[in-house]
């Protein structure tokens, strides 16, 4: 599947992702500068992305733990925010469009 990625102040790019991996892993392995400081444990929120409205509703539901973390972000948007380490790539999500947030950029 393909993922369209917008990076703040750096424009857009498209990456190839294989199903079974998390979206965070796909971004990381494509060299996208995502912080992901806890490695995917739903514990740091530095893999926070905004999902395009066309795809947001297609994702598996958010867990309570994920919501708790997202709410702590300055860029939380209830209709768009997800932790990319909690979304599993799947061909049904082909074309998934998302944008990295200032809190998820690698420093």
């Amino acid at each position: 599947m393909k993922i369209k990625v917008a990076i703040p102040e750096r424009g857009e790019t498209e990456i190839e992702a294989r199903s079974g991996w998390t979206v965070m892993e796909a971004l990381r392995d494509a060299g996208i500068p995502i912080a992901a400081r806890c490695g995917g444990g739903c514990a740091c929120a530095s893999c926070h992305v905004h999902i395009d409205p066309a795809f947001f509703g297609k994702l598996a539901p958010v867990s309570e733990d994920e919501t708790d973390l997202l709410e702590s972000s300055d860029h939380y948007d209830v209709g768009a925010s997800r932790l990319s380490c909690q979304i599993i790539c799947d061909d049904a999500l082909d074309g998934l469009a998302l944008s990295l947030q200032p809190d998820s950029l690698e420093d």
Partner: protein, 411 residues
């Protein structure tokens, strides 16, 4: 310390021409200076704090680089084009001999195998099997609680992950002794069997199970591994055996020792215990904080092409130790890193590695730790280290707590 005599007698490597003199340190990753006096993590952090450099070189263990800063370690894990998994254990001559598929493969060869591991033990399965993990934890803890004392490493940490695995593999419980014997030989060989013999015995045992799960696939871990293909072709028997063995061994020593470090800490800190007993909902993020503060793995990468790092040239074929131990404990990654703070925000660590090989069992490991602490504190909220005992740490590829005698009052 008698078994270190042989270690000390090993010759030190000569300093190669690409290593500037100010990068050379005297540090044996299997026996860091002062580990007995100050503890494992403190001994490593002492090395980190002893130099302004991000990478240093030691003549021990055939000579290798060590990355000292968490961000540097993470960057190397994320960069397989320069830092290959072709050899991941030190010393290099030993690392060249062992290693189960796909731990020593780089992308893209690594990728399809990794997908099998993700399917077998990733986020989705982890959530499904939580009740099984909890059942095993409760069983062992309820057996220990009335005794008022235990050696945590032997009586819990070494029992729990093996029993969980037997259930996940859907292997009869009567087999526990056999399986544990082989697994112990794989993770801590005592020389009584050669590695080939251990593996042969183990394969003789799993082969009929693999046959059964191909014929009658179920929901167990072996079924989830063997009924997959690798980029469109069927898996070979050797690959199936390798992946099943990897799942067994990768998730044992690591969990045993992480849990032991966590419990050593909780036994010493009443205030942290109380915080969790009063508010069990905090345990999930507390576990993350404990993984940050107590990483246990120190592996390596092999430099693939000559690469400039922090002002030095690493040559193709050079080994670099990428200690996860210096991730979360680095003051450039986290404020007051040696302090355990269950309310910490922006936790940063590399306890599970990073990049394509990041621990395939990380979600499962977190769950095993969370469930253990939840169920333990419910039954044994107050406990301490048995008076008079000295807790010993050992450093290695997987760092260990040798014994952890705990005592508590029986209700």
């Amino acid at each position: 310390m008698t078994d270190n005599v042989a270690e000390m007698a090993k010759p030190l490597a000569d300093v190669p021409s690409n290593v500037p003199a100010d990068r050379v340190v005297d540090f044996d990753i299997f026996n860091p200076p002062e580990i007995d006096e100050i503890g494992l993590h403190e001994a490593w952090v002492k090395l980190q704090q002893s130099t302004p450099h991000e990478v240093v070189w030691t003549p021990h263990n055939e000579g290798h680089w060590i990355a000292l800063r968490g961000k540097r370690v993470r960057a190397m894990y994320r960069d397989p084009d320069h830092f290959s998994s072709h050899v991941i254990w030190l010393p290099k001559s030993e690392g060249l001999q062992y290693g189960l598929v796909p731990t020593r493969l780089d992308p893209p060869q690594h990728t399809p195998f990794r997908e099998v591991l993700n399917n077998a033990i990733g986020i989705t399965v982890t959530k499904e099997v939580e009740p099984i993990v909890r059942e095993v934890a409760v069983e062992i803890i309820e057996d220990l609680a009335p005794r008022g004392a235990c050696n945590f490493t032997e009586d819990y940490a070494k029992q729990f992950p093996v029993r969980v695995f037997l259930k996940l593999l859907d292997i009869p419980y009567e087999d526990v002794a056999d399986v544990k014997k082989w697994v112990d030989q794989m993770t801590r060989p005592d020389g009584s069997m050669s590695m080939e013999e251990v593996m042969e015995n183990f394969f003789r045992y799993v082969d009929p199970i693999i046959d059964d799960r191909i014929a009658n696939p179920g929901e167990d871990l072996i079924s989830r591994v063997v009924n997959n293909d690798i980029d469109g072709r069927p898996m070979t028997r050797a690959e199936m055996r390798g992946l099943v063995s990897l799942l067994l061994v990768a998730g044992l020593d690591t969990v045993v020792n992480a849990l032991s470090f966590f419990m050593e800490f909780l036994a010493r800190s009443a205030s942290h215990r109380h915080e969790l007993v009063e508010n069990p909902k905090k345990i999930r993020l507390a576990v993350e904080e404990l993984f940050r503060r107590f990483p246990v793995v120190a592996e390596a990468r092999m430099v693939k092409v000559d690469t400039q790092v922090d002002g030095v040239t690493m040559k193709a074929g050079d080994m670099v130790c990428v200690p996860t131990i210096l991730g979360g404990t680095d003051d450039q990654m986290n404020k007051c890193p040696m302090q355990v703070d269950f309310n910490r925000k922006d936790t940063s660590h590399v306890t599970f590695g990073d990049g394509p090989h990041i621990c395939a069992g990380q979600h499962f490991a977190r769950q095993e730790a969370r469930v253990t602490i939840e169920e333990w504190l419910k039954r044994i909220p107050e406990f301490e280290i048995a008076p008079g005992s000295k807790i010993q740490h050992k450093s290695g590829i997987v760092c260990t707590v040798e014994d952890l005698p705990l005592v508590w009052k029986v209700k």
